[in-house]
Structure formats: C-alpha cells, structure tokens
Symmetry: D3
Subunit: 131 residues, 6 copies
Amino acid sequence: MTNLIEYEDSSDEVRAVYDDIRTTRSSDYINNFWKVLANHPPTLRRTWETLKEVMVSPGEIDPLMRELIYIAVSVTNNCEYCIASHTAAARTKGMSDAMFGELMAIVATANMTNRLANGYQIPVDDKFKTL
Amino acid sequence: MTNLIEYEDSSDEVRAVYDDIRTTRSSDYINNFWKVLANHPPTLRRTWETLKEVMVSPGEIDPLMRELIYIAVSVTNNCEYCIASHTAAARTKGMSDAMFGELMAIVATANMTNRLANGYQIPVDDKFKTL
Amino acid sequence: MTNLIEYEDSSDEVRAVYDDIRTTRSSDYINNFWKVLANHPPTLRRTWETLKEVMVSPGEIDPLMRELIYIAVSVTNNCEYCIASHTAAARTKGMSDAMFGELMAIVATANMTNRLANGYQIPVDDKFKTL
Amino acid sequence: MTNLIEYEDSSDEVRAVYDDIRTTRSSDYINNFWKVLANHPPTLRRTWETLKEVMVSPGEIDPLMRELIYIAVSVTNNCEYCIASHTAAARTKGMSDAMFGELMAIVATANMTNRLANGYQIPVDDKFKTL
Amino acid sequence: MTNLIEYEDSSDEVRAVYDDIRTTRSSDYINNFWKVLANHPPTLRRTWETLKEVMVSPGEIDPLMRELIYIAVSVTNNCEYCIASHTAAARTKGMSDAMFGELMAIVATANMTNRLANGYQIPVDDKFKTL
Amino acid sequence: MTNLIEYEDSSDEVRAVYDDIRTTRSSDYINNFWKVLANHPPTLRRTWETLKEVMVSPGEIDPLMRELIYIAVSVTNNCEYCIASHTAAARTKGMSDAMFGELMAIVATANMTNRLANGYQIPVDDKFKTL
C-alpha cells in the first residue's frame, strides 16, 4: 500500500510535482519523503507547495537559518527522517560542524528551560505580554 | 514555597547571579524566570551559566538567530512563558514583524512534515545517513 | 529481563489475559505488545481491560474511526510500534489507501495549526469557552 | 505588533481570505485564529487554503470524524486554542456528549499505550511491517 | 455540556466512585478532575480504578516517589492541571522545597540530554540493548 | 562529521572530561553519548558538568529514584538512546523488574490523565494554586 513511487512509475499529477522539485533544487534526486507522499497525490502537491513557499521563496530569514530552525523543531519532536534529511540540506547550504554544535546546544538548552518554566508554573512578566 | 524572590530579599549566592544577569544584559530588570529559579539556588546558578554560554558567548550563529531557534523549540513545546520572554528578547535584538511571520511559518511547516514522515514511517535515504 | 513471554510459557494470570485477547479478536495471534507487557502482569491485565473497553465495546464512534483517532495520537507522539500495529488494525477494519492519506493530511495540518496558535499566543474567542 | 486584524481594517489580500472563510462557512464570524494570522498575509492565505482542502473538501472521512481526529492531535499537543475552537466546531457538526467522552477516552488510552510501547522498547511484529 | 458535577447532583454510578475517592483519600474533597470526568461515567470509573491501582496500591516504589515520577511526566507534557494537583499531593506526602528543586533539575536536564541524543542521532551502545 | 571520538584520539580538552567521567563512575567505559558530544567540546564539558551535578551530587532524592525520574521523562519524549542507557544505569543501581513495571505503569497513567485534563480543559482548583 505505502510504496516508494519512482519517477518512471508516477502518474502525470505526481510527475508534475517531481519535475518542479527537480527544477527548484537543480538536482535529479527525489528523496524518499516525496516518493512516499506520492501515494496520496493531493498531500504531495500541497506539502511541496507549502515547503517551497516557506523554505525557498525570498524572505528576511536566509535559507541556511531556515534549515537550522527546521532542524530545531525536528530534534524537539524526535523525527528521525526530518533530522537526517534537513541536516544534509543544511550542510549543503553551508552549515559548519561548529554551527551544528551550537544549534544542538541551543535546542537542548531551550528544551531544558522550557521545563523549568512549566514545572515552576512561572507567571509571564507584564512587560512580555503582547495581546 | 515557590515565591518570586526579589533582589532585595536574596541571599548572597542568589544575588551574585542576579548581579551577573544585570551586567550581562546591561539592564536592572530581573525577569520572573530567575526570581522563581532562585528558590533552588544551584538550579538558578547552573541554568544562568548554561544560558549565558549558549545564548550570549561568541559563536557562528548570531544572537538574533539564536533567539529564533529558541522560539522554534518553545513554540513546538507550547511553553507560554518561554515564547513570551524570548519573543520579547528577539524583538529587542531586531526581529521584524515579517521575520516573526516567517519564523512561525517555518515552525508550523516543520511540525506538519514531521508528522507526515512519522505517519508514513518513511525510511531514511542512504545518502542522508551519517553515523 | 524484558522478554517476549510466549503463551506456552505464561503463568495462569497472564494466560487468562491471552485467552481473552484471542477470544475478543477471534485470532490466535498475540502481538509483541502483550508479550512484553506480560513481564508485569498487573499492567498487562489493566491495559488490556482498558483497551478492550475503549476500543471494542459498543459506543457512538465506530470501530474504524476509533482506530483512526488512535493513529492520529500515535503519529503525533511518534510511537513507531503503535503506528505500525494500529495501521494494520485499521486496514483490517476497512481503511482504504485514500482514507489513510486523508488521515495523514488531517494529522499533519493539525500539528501545523497547533503551532501557529501557540506561537502567536492567540486568545480563545469568548464563544468557544465552555467551563 | 500582533494585533487582531478586523475585517474593516484589513488589506485587500487579507479581505479576500476573510471573504472566502465567510462564504465557505456560511457565517460572518471570523475567529481570532484568522485575525491573528492576518499579521502575516502569506501565512493566512496558505493556512486557510490548506485547512479548507483538508477539512472541508469531499473525501472518504466524514466532516465530523475529521474534527474528532483534529481534536485528538490538539489534545495530545495541549493546544488550548485548538481544542476550544475545534470542540466548538465538532459540536456544530453533531458531536454528542457521549461521543466527546469516548473521544477523550481513546486519546487518553493511546497516550498511555504509546508510552508503554516506548518504555519497553517493544520490537514491531514482522506482520505489521509495511515498507 | 462539560460541567463540574457536584456530589449532591451525581448519579448513583458517579457517586459510588466519589465515595471510593473519599474513603481512599480520607478526605471529603473531590477535586475538579473527577467532577469533570463524571460527565462520562465509564471514563470516571476506569480512570479512578487505574489511578488507585497505580498510585496507591502496595509496591516497591514509595508513594512520594510515585508522585515525583508523575510530576516529571506532567512537566514534560506541560499539563498545567496535573502539575498543580500532583505538586500539591507530593507536598502532602512530604516533598520538601529542596526535593522539588532537585526534581525540576532532573526533569530539565533529561529534557536537555534527550534532545542532544535525538539531534546527534546517537547509536545505542550494544551493552545497553535488551531485547 | 559526526564521529564517535575515542579516548585515544581525543584532544586534551575532551580527554579531561573523559577522565572525569571514568573517575566519577569508577569504570573505563565511555558510552556513545559522550563520544558523540565530543564533536563539540563546549557542549561535552557543559553537559557532563550539569549531569554530574544533577544526577550524582548529594541531595534529598536518592540516586536510583533520580534514574527513575530521568527514565520517566525519556519515555514521555520517546528518546530511544536515553531510555536504553538510563534503564541500564537504573538496573546497576538496583532497579528490580517489578520496580521497572511499576515505573512504566505510572508513566503510562500520567500520560493518560494529562490528556484527560487537557482535553476537558479542567480548571485548576483554587486550593492547588501556589503563585
């Protein structure tokens, strides 16, 4: 039921997305994430469009920093596939070993202080309230 | 038992940390997080030292980006205090409205794709494996 | 210490639960979850009774939909064993490929919007408040 | 910075989304979620399009069941806003008190068994493996 | 729909559980958790029976340590109600201020190291494998 | 990039930490967690110092109970490495099979009741409020 759908075996609907992935990334490689999502074409299309708009289109946060933020979420959620694939992507975009070490340190620290704030049920300072 | 421990009422051990927070941040304001942690001085000291080293000391990721990564974790964990205090910190360090909007979009998207990867139990591509 | 306890090697207390699982499911297969829980018989018994009451006894939500809800939780928590076993159970109860695709889409979307609500700290509308 | 953007004060881009929400739901009420997302129009548009496609368009899972699945995720993540708003939506679509009670029981049980599977590190049965 | 069901207004089924809570705890106080679960009597009964068996019946982990473990989970999940009620229960059973401080430190540290293990995708040492 | 850094190949900075781990644990074995963190020496040093202070230094919670609390967090987060390594540590410190079974039962139950409290949005009793 859940298969890896290869480019050669894909429907027109799926192939159109695969082609856009290839063009956007200037690479023929389609990673497993997309080959699996292709089992439900509307989810494939919608997810790719979202990822492309959020991770690739112009904005104020540069592409490498977007990857670091993405990794921070994936590590917190312990999504093995996402950590592996986006760590590879971040390397491609220039992440150094030291940068990865710093990223892990920030993620680990935030997960620690999050629980101190939860456990002590710390009231939000008035000056930090926005709405 | 869990009180907000004010500077005036703090022990020498706590006050030394409060003084370092004030110096490091060039501000007299001590936020509730530290006033609550002061109920257990070793945790206050250790947490401040960690946060200072990870968030403030020189490194390859700039201070504003560190805050964005911190917020990404806190939003994923739904830690109200941490979101509020570090959003305020990020604003101080130059986060624009657009940047916050982009940050939320990345965090939301990563949480979405994390679950697609989990639910479909997608196998990690060989080329993404490192260890 | 943690072994898979087979039917043949089980104590009377464990065997009584195994027998009830077999009868309830009209199948001789005992899956690993129960064989491992059998290492602590009170937890085996209590967990089976709860699962039987919640997933199998008559109610307003039909059995297939109960499985989909169960999978939604397991995907959000990234519990590999639970995703695998309950996806198989849902298939048995009639889940189609399209239905699984829709389920993943809903789970992914909810995880996305959950973080947008958290990150923006959106106040609950008065009309949605209940207690 | 994060304000509730009212219909009257919205830009053309935002208003187009608000109008589609009103039409799709046959109601003039715009809830706070959208009024806050409107601070970053691309996120407002993309999120609404996703939600509309996933929660409203025709499919094999009926609209009420989609809401139950959505609530299951939101309860697992403890997203207060999402629980409140989608519980209200589910009530509108016919969720009875008993159905809500059953839903909570399934979500609670799944969160329990997820941890038993994690903690005992239970190996997936061969018959449950798919890829 | 979701009301706090008071002892005076409860059905016989609900009252039997309330009576057992009062007897077990040697206190007339019924806290909100049970008054809300009473909206779905099977969930009230099943949850109370589970909690009584797991938290109160004789075992190798003493009652105060069970509360600390319970709080550790609730802080990690950020369940405000559970943190508040079980911190109160732990105080009643003898938790000192120092013990609470140490508990928070362990929970925070574990949440930190959990993410370092996730992020670096550290392989389990052979000597730690059990099944 | 992420390698297991062996004692023989370690820098002076890393070796100093390895030596302290060996001395503190009265064992030559350095587990993979430290060998991987050694890729970013400041994180290795800081994490070890924190863990040593929180898990090993004198306090009111005994060392075995600290391990149980640590496992409770790791199971809730589903951190495979952390569950495996700290379950082994707890065995060394005297955890019996029955104690592990009770621990799993408490963790599972807390994760269940956490969601009931979330889902029903139960208001905190006045008597449980502290700050």
